[in-house]
Amino acid sequence: MSRTAVIVFAIVVVLFAVSWVAKAVVLSDTSDSGTLDAFLVTVAAFLTLAIYSFLYKDNPYYKFAEHLFVGVSAAFWMCQGFWTTIVGNLLPRLSEGMANWFMQPYQPGGYDLGFLNLSYTVLYWIPVILGLLLLMRLSPKGGWLSRWPLALIIGTTAGLNFVRYLRSDFIVQVSSTFVPLLGQEPHQWQGIGAFFSNFSLDASGQFVALLANWVIFIGVFCGLVYFFFSKEHTGLFGRASRVGIWVLMITFGASFGYTVMGRISLLVGRLTFLFEDWLGLIT
């Protein structure tokens, strides 16, 4: 550790202590647990600053916040999963004894297949056994057994995704693209004369509605042409591909702008926390 690093560390510790004490004094008027609240607000503020310190360069304070986040978030999701899924939903269905042990209402049930009556007790032991098999991955010799529960998850998810995405990302998208190019109610096409006599740039007018339909249809078609790499992009195909990349560029620009504004609103949120909740400079 260099001398500069030690001095910086000492300054950080002193600032932390000063901030904690000052905040505790301020909060003691309004809160019974002022010291603890002041500590938590100071920790949040210093962690925020530690992350922002990465803008200068990678440093120990950033690494500290990063590693703390990994540990805390892993434990958070483990506790949530344990209490909500295992204790909340699984154990009350496995047996009455376990439900009583964990002070949960027993949830008896099952399904009669006609030739076989399956109770929850039998049905919910299967994923428990499969879950335990998954832990066999830790064993050098029995690791191959963990493939069975993995196979169930992979197979079920693959089958589910096959139908789900075929429907939502393909059939629904294609059918939504086939919009009426000559307008629909209340903008039904009534001839070129009627079109020009009622021409307006208003958002609710026929021209804007027709333009939207044409842009969507041509945009999707040309966008797909651009992504089709089995044929050389020359001639008419190449021109369609060119239009496709124009539409894609507009999308990338719009998405970029949207993302920038989203991130800036988060930045404003963090700065508000620092200047309002921590330093109390703005109200």
Binding site: L40, V41, V43, L47, T48, I51, Y52, F54, L55, K63, E66, H67, L68, G71, V72, A75, F76, M78, C79, Q80, T84, I86, V87, Y111, P127, G131, L134, R137, G143, W148, P149, A151, L152, I153, I154, T156, A158, G159, N161, F162, V163, Y165, D169, V215, V220, L224, W246, V247, L248, M249, I250, T251, G253, A254, F256, G257, R263, L266, L267, R270
Partner: protein, 271 residues
């Protein structure tokens, strides 16, 4: 058995999930619901595997003194302290000796890890671990201000569990995302140069959308900026997004088919 049976399972469950969609029978829907429940339960065991993996990687890093090994202690501290909060809660208004208890438990774990990773001074670490363990057990037995909750989800209501979520997880997460604003601004400076038609389209679309969401500049342009931005998002943006989504959808369907038919076997690993 080692490779063929998992392939068979993938094929059967994959095929079932495809066909159940077209079978509106009560039994089919019932099996579908159960399979989804099973996946959730198995997923929790996978989470436990992940936690173990995180612990092992961190301890190994300390043991082998890899680069930045010291920060692994921070990860382990965050992990264990949050687990402790998840299983304990306050009984009244006072915390009593709770924080000293948390400190002694953390020191016990730290000393045990120290004994595991260090080649010398194992005995001293274990003695210290024993001392801290006795201290934590005594506090746990005689302090009534808080209690363990192994049977009910009181731990999730523990104000320290919520406080760590609100004052550690959320600030770090939102600051990490807001950090991207600076990098995006830097990237924009380089990318947003109207050198040709394509770059100009990108620049124009981004400017219109950004101006629309700017609370200070948007009113200058009146209603037009909002209308143009909305049209841009709802029409050309949607058209290209749809082309991308169709491509992604076809990719997912093809991959799912490869998995079900056993052509894609990467998930099985080696051996």
């Amino acid at each position: 058995m080692k490779r063929q049976f998992p392939l068979f399972l993938v094929f059967i469950f994959g095929l079932f999930m495809v066909f159940q969609y077209f079978v509106p029978h009560e039994t089919s829907e019932w099996v579908y619901e159960f399979l989804l429940d099973w996946i959730l339960v198995i997923g929790i065991f996978a989470l436990a595997l992940g936690i173990w993996s995180l612990y092992k990687v961190s301890v190994d890093k300390i043991k082998t003194r890899k680069a930045n090994w010291g920060y692994s202690y921070v990860t382990l501290f965050g992990l264990f302290v949050m687990i402790l909060f998840g299983f304990t809660s306050q009984n009244g208004d006072s915390w009593g000796w709770y924080f000293i208890f948390v400190a002694t438990v953390m020191l016990t774990i730290g000393m045990v890890i120290q004994a595991m990773v260090s080649s010398g001074q194992k005995g001293l670490s274990l003695i210290l671990a024993g001392v801290f363990l006795v201290a934590s057990v005594l506090i746990g037995m005689f302090d009534n201000a808080w209690s363990f909750h192994f049977y009910t989800a009181e731990g999730l209501q523990n104000s320290m569990f919520r406080a760590f979520f609100d004052h550690i997880l959320i600030p770090i997460l939102s600051t990490m995302f807001s950090l991207l604003a600076f990098f995006i601004a830097s990237a924009a400076y380089r990318a947003f140069r109207a050198r040709n038609l394509l770059a100009s389209l990108l620049l124009l679309a981004a400017l219109i959308v950004m101006l629309r969401f700017n609370p200070y500049l948007s009113p200058i342009f009146g209603d037009y900026m909002a209308k143009t931005s909305n049209w841009l998002m709802n029409v050309p943006n949607m058209a290209a997004q749809r082309a991308i989504v169709i491509g992604i959808g076809l990719g997912i369907v093809a991959t799912a088919l490869k998995v079900i038919l056993g052509i894609e076997r990467g998930y099985m690993g080696k051996g």
